[in-house]
């Protein structure tokens, strides 16, 4: 989880409406160092509605698998290359 989307106008109660995930979020969070990190990581951002959150403890658990929300895309893109090395499924 990289950030939270919070909504609420002046005088209204603030409400968490979504979780934001991905390197694209970093550029807004850490100045130039975040922009450099986001550029290096070259990922997008995924917005997961708060209604999809099943449990908040030491970890945030979602109702569906990560892949179903489009998370972990970087691993999926890299996997075919790693799989070409013998023994990659050991």
């Amino acid at each position: 989880m990289d950030d939270l989307a919070i909504e609420g106008g002046p005088g209204e109660p603030a409400e968490v409406v979504a979780i934001l995930v991905g390197p694209d979020v970093w550029r807004e969070r850490a100045g130039w160092i975040g922009r450099v990190a986001a550029w290096v990581a070259r990922g997008g951002r995924v917005r997961i509605p708060w209604s999809e959150v099943a449990e908040v403890g030491s970890h945030v658990k979602l109702k569906k698998t990560a892949a179903e929300y489009g998370l972990g895309g970087g691993d999926d893109r890299l996997r075919p290359y790693i799989e070409k090395i013998p023994g990659s499924h050991r």
């Binding site: 990289d2 390197p23 970093w26 969070r29 160092i33 403890g57 970890h59 996997r79 023994g87 050991r90």
Partner: protein
């Protein structure tokens, strides 16, 4: 001794956090220090990891050269390939067992220390904190170096991630405590043995044991050829094992910060970005050591720079270990908190003074 107690305290703490909450140290670093400070800690940790790994790959090649007499550069490539294959092929438990048991050959230095019949009164006096040189700055520099070496951050990154790798739960807290105490106490014991050997053989004779070969002679002189071979084999396993710890540590930090799939309990294809991270780190270390950089000098640099990253590593561990929402009945007790806070203060002083002392003492040359 001070460093060993510190690393036992914090390793036990971070192992407990991992067992109870499933969080490794870098998860906690990012969560508790915020994104920006976490990112700075990550960059510092990766630079120190890369320096340490470079020194260790060079160290493995030196040990292989001492055993074989083959050219150093060829052995750097061989060492890198062997470390890469071991990490690719072996599971986490086997890596720990093989390099842990192989490293026990270093106990030969304890036998050597006894055989050298040192002045035990002087040895005992050496354990009482005192300034053994007229140059107080130089003494402080070496004291910081020893503390940094004993509490180097990659150890807790690796230890806590290893706890997650092995699937520890609250039932394993006894094992955690035993591992932290016995493992680091054994490391401290071997350091004492090396210091006694060094003191008995080299101190006052104008010999600076600055190469791995000279250090191995510390076992070779009192115990002959078998002592020498056991010392070099022990150093080979210890340095190679440490290089794998450091390699994993660098990949763990990056993966935990960025939210990649991670762990050697998964196949390489099951955690592709984690796998690519350690492959890239290993190749970078090999290229760096091929430039001819002095592995022993680089180790000194890595230790001093790692000291600067200590507070941002250890503070989040202390905070999470006190968080009842995560830790429930397993939060820190009073003793762990008193010792933990005391060490945090020491770490902060050390972190602030490490670089100035390095400059003022001309890298410890006086």
């Amino acid at each position: 001794m001070i460093g060993v107690i510190g690393i036992i305290t914090y390793s036990e703490m971070c192992g407990r956090v991992s067992a109870v909450s499933g969080k490794a140290v870098f998860d906690a670093v990012r969560e508790r220090t915020g994104f920006k400070a976490g990112l700075i800690t990550l960059i510092a940790a990766e630079i120190v990891n890369a320096m340490t790994l470079t020194a260790e790959v060079g160290g493995v090649a030196i040990c292989l050269q001492l055993l074989s007499g083959l050219p150093y550069r060829l052995l750097i490539v061989l060492a890198t390939i062997v470390v890469g294959i071991v990490v690719w092929v072996m599971n986490f438990n086997w890596i720990e067992r093989i390099f842990g048991y192989g490293g026990l050959c270093l106990l030969v230095f304890a036998v050597a220390a006894v055989k050298l019949h040192p002045d035990w009164g002087a040895v005992g006096h050496g354990f009482v904190p005192h300034i053994a040189t007229g140059n107080k700055l130089l003494f402080a520099y070496f004291a910081i170096g020893l503390l940094g070496a004993a509490m180097t951050p990659y150890e807790v990154y690796f230890y806590s991630s290893g706890a997650v790798e092995e699937g520890w739960t609250a039932k394993d807290l006894g094992l955690n405590r035993m591992n932290a105490i016995v493992g680091y106490a054994l490391g401290g014991f071997l350091s004492f043995a090396l210091m006694i050997v060094g003191g008995a053989l080299f101190l006052g004779k104008g010999i600076q044991p600055e190469t791995l070969g000279t250090i191995a002679l510390g076992a070779g002189i009192p115990l002959g050829e078998i002592g020498l071979i056991l010392a070099i084999v022990g150093m080979l396993f210890a340095v190679a094992g440490a290089s794998i710890d450091t390699l994993f540590s660098g990949a763990y930090d990056l993966a935990q910060f960025c939210g990649f799939e991670w762990g050697r309990h998964k196949s390489p294809a099951g955690a592709p970005r984690f796998t690519l991270s350690w492959i890239v780190l290993l190749i970078l270390a090999m290229l760096a050591v091929m430039t001819g950089v002095d592995a022993v000098k680089l180790t000194e640099f890595a230790v001093i720079f790692s000291v600067v990253a200590l507070p941002l590593t250890y503070l989040p561990i202390l905070l999470v270990a006190n968080d009842k929402a995560y830790m429930k009945e397993y939060v820190n007790g009073r003793l762990a908190n008193v010792v933990g806070i005391l060490y945090l203060v020491i770490i902060m002083i050390v972190a602030l003074t490490a670089i100035p002392l390095m400059l003022l003492t001309n890298l410890g040359q006086g």
